[in-house]
C-alpha cells in the first residue's frame, strides 16, 4: 500500500493527526498523546492496516519535548509506518503503555523509562532495567550531566 493510501485510512482513526514524509523513508504519523493507545490498537486491529510487528521503539529527547518513536511493520501486508508521540512535561512525563498491543513494548518501555524517565501508565512493572535503582537522573536526556563519567566536548 502506498503512503497516500495509508494516510487516508489512518486520518479517519483519530483527530489532529499530523503526517509527514520529510527526511524519512517512512510515513510519519504524529499522534497527540491522549490518543496514543486508541490509535495504536486500531493500527493493529484494522483489517486494512494490521500493524502487528513493532520492530523498533525508540525514546527521544527533542528538547524541550520528550517522546517515543514506534517503527511498525505489518507481517501480512508488508507496509510500514512510524508513529511519533510527544510529551511536553519534563518533570513528570507520562504516556500510555502499549504493551497490551505489542508485547515487545514491555521491555522497550522499561528501557525508555530507564534512560529518558518517561513513565508508562498501565505498565505491569516499571523499574530500572539497566541502571541501578538508586541512579539519579536519566542519562540519554540532552540536559543530563555526569561530570565524573562523561567527557563533554
Amino acid at each position: 500500500m502506498t503512503n497516500e493510501d495509508l494516510q487516508n485510512i489512518i486520518t479517519g482513526l483519530g483527530t489532529d493527526l499530523e503526517f509527514t514524509t520529510e527526511g524519512s523513508e517512512f510515513l510519519n504519523v504524529i499522534v497527540p498523546k491522549e490518543q496514543l493507545h486508541s490509535i495504536c490498537s486500531q493500527l493493529k486491529s484494522n483489517p486494512k492496516l494490521k500493524f502487528d510487528y513493532a520492530f523498533c521503539i525508540t525514546g527521544m529527547d527533542w528538547v524541550p519535548a520528550l517522546g517515543v518513536i514506534y517503527h511498525l511493520h505489518s507481517t501480512e501486508l508488508k507496509h510500514e509506518i512510524v508513529v511519533k508521540v510527544m510529551v511536553e512535561d519534563r518533570e513528570n512525563p507520562t504516556l500510555d503503555s502499549v504493551h497490551d498491543i505489542w508485547q515487545t513494548a514491555d521491555f522497550h518501555e522499561l528501557e525508555i523509562f530507564d534512560f529518558f524517565g518517561i513513565k508508562f501508565n498501565n505498565h505491569p512493572k516499571l523499574r530500572r532495567l539497566f541502571l541501578t535503582p538508586e541512579w539519579e537522573g536519566f542519562p540519554l536526556r540532552k540536559d543530563y550531566v555526569d561530570e565524573a563519567n562523561m567527557i563533554i566536548k
Binding site: E25, Y53, F55, C56, T58, T75, D106, F107, L131, L140
Partner: protein
C-alpha cells in the same frame, strides 16, 4: 504410605534464586531472577546492565566514522555485520552507492561471520547440555575463519573492515584461495556436527518439545532471526529488505514450524548450508572496482532520520540515526536482536525445569553485550 502420597504431603512454597550474573550457561553477565517451586520455574525476570556501556550516548558525541568502531562491541560475534549496518545507514544518508566489488566482499564476509558465529553457538550449545566435545570441534573450524579475518583486516573479532563508503582497504591476495579451502573443508564438517550432536538421542530428548514459542507470540514480542524462523515467522532481512549483494544470490530462508528448542537448533544448522552456498556463488565472481567511494573527512548527514536493518547471526539489527545536519548524530538507537528476543524468555519458560531453561537459553544464542549495549 505410597511414594505419591508422601509427595503430596510435602509442603512446598515458591522462593526466588539468582541465576547469574556469573552463570556459566549465560555466556556473559546476564542475571535472571528465577521464582521457582522445587525444580519448576514459575517466573523469570531478567536484570540487565552488568555490561551496559551506554553506546547510544557515546554515539551522540562521536563522528560517524567513530560510531562504526563502537558497534563491534555490541554483538562481538557478528562484528562485521554490525559495522555494515552503520555504514549502510550513513551511505543511505549521504546517498552514496558503493561499487559491486564492495557489495560482494561485504556479503562474503557477512556469511563467513555468520558461519563463525553459528560454530561458536553450536559448540556452546553442546557444552551447556553436557557435551563438552562439540566445543573443540566447533572452535577448530571457527579458527580457520578467524585466520581469514586476521589476514584480511588484522583483527580476528572486532573487525572494523567496513567504513562509510566502502572497505578500509582491498582484500588480501590469499583471500579467495583460503576462503575456498575453508568452504571445501567445512562442507565435510557439517555432517560430522550432525552425527555428533543432532542425531544424539539424549540431545534430542533434552530439546524436542521444550520451550515452545508460537508464531503469534514471536510476532507480538518482536522476535527475529533463527528464533523467529524456528516458529515459522518469516523474518529474514536478507530476503525481505535485501542489502549489499543479497539480491543477486540464490538462497532459501529456513522456516520450521515446531517452535521448540530443537527447531531453533535445526534452523541454524541448515543456515550453515545456505551460508556456504552464498559464499560459493560469490567467491569466484568478485567484480573489479573501487574499494572505497570518496567521502569527506568530516561526514555530515543531511537533516533527517535514517533507518537501516541487517540480518546478524542473531536476527534483525536496526540502526536508527536522527541527524540535525551536524558532524555528530542527534540520536542513535540500536534495535538489537538479543534485547527483543530476551523479552520472550519469561513467556516460554513458565513451568519448565531449571535444566530446560539452560537448553532454551542456549537455543536463543544470547550475546549479552548485544542486549546491554
Amino acid at each position: 504410605m505410597t511414594n505419591q502420597e508422601a509427595q503430596n504431603k510435602i509442603k512446598t512454597e515458591e522462593y526466588f534464586i539468582n541465576m547469574g550474573p556469573q552463570h556459566p550457561a549465560a555466556h556473559g553477565v546476564l542475571r535472571l531472577i528465577l521464582t521457582i517451586d522445587g525444580e519448576i520455574i514459575k517466573n523469570v525476570e531478567p536484570d540487565l546492565g552488568y555490561i551496559h556501556r551506554s553506546i547510544e550516548k557515546m554515539c551522540e558525541r562521536d563522528s560517524y566514522q567513530q560510531i562504526v568502531h563502537l558497534t563491534d562491541r555490541m554483538d562481538y560475534l557478528s562484528s562485521h555485520i554490525n559495522n555494515e549496518a552503520v555504514c549502510l545507514a550513513v551511505e543511505k544518508g549521504l546517498e552514496i552507492e558503493v561499487s559491486d566489488r564492495v557489495k560482494v566482499i561485504r556479503t562474503i564476509l557477512d556469511e563467513l561471520t555468520r558461519i563463525a558465529s553459528h560454530c561458536l553457538w553450536w559448540g556452546v550449545m553442546g557444552m551447556d547440555l553436557g557435551a563438552l566435545t562439540t566445543y573443540f570441534y566447533a572452535f577448530r573450524d571457527r579458527e580457520m575463519i578467524n585466520d581469514i579475518f586476521e589476514e584480511t583486516c588484522g583483527a580476528r573479532l572486532t573487525m572494523n573492515y567496513n567504513v562509510p563508503g566502502g572497505l578500509m582497504f582491498d582484500i588480501h591476495p590469499n583471500f579467495v584461495k583460503r576462503t575456498k579451502d575453508f568452504i571445501a573443508q567445512f562442507k565435510t564438517k557439517i555432517p560430522e556436527y550432525n552425527l555428533l550432536l543432532t542425531d544424539n538421542v539424549i540431545f534430542q530428548k533434552r530439546t524436542k518439545g521444550v520451550g515452545i514459542l508460537t508464531k503469534e507470540d514471536a510476532i507480538s514480542f518482536g522476535v527475529s532471526g533463527p528464533v523467529a524462523r524456528g516458529s515459522g515467522f518469516s523474518s529474514d532481512v536478507r530476503k525481505h529488505h535485501p542489502y549489499s549483494a543479497y539480491d543477486r544470490v540464490d538462497f532459501k530462508e529456513i522456516l520450521l514450524t515446531e517452535g521448540d528448542t530443537f527447531a531453533r537448533y535445526q534452523v541454524r544448522m541448515m543456515e550453515l548450508w545456505e551460508s556456504v552456498s552464498i559464499i560459493e556463488q560469490l567467491i569466484d565472481n568478485i567484480p573489479e572496482g573501487e574499494t572505497k567511494e570518496a567521502t569527506k573527512a568530516v561526514i555530515k548527514l543531511p537533516k533527517g532520520e535514517f533507518y537501516q536493518r541487517v540480518e546478524t547471526a542473531r536476527g534483525e539489527l536496526g540502526v536508527y540515526i536522527n541527524s540535525t545536519g551536524n558532524k555528530n548524530p542527534y540520536r542513535v538507537k540500536f534495535r538489537s536482536p538479543g534485547f527483543s528476543n530476551l523479552s520472550i524468555l519469561n513467556h516460554i519458560s513458565k513451568d519448565v525445569l531449571i535444566a530446560d531453561l539452560v537448553a532454551i537459553m542456549a537455543s536463543f544464542d544470547f550475546v549479552i553485550p548485544d542486549i546491554d549495549r
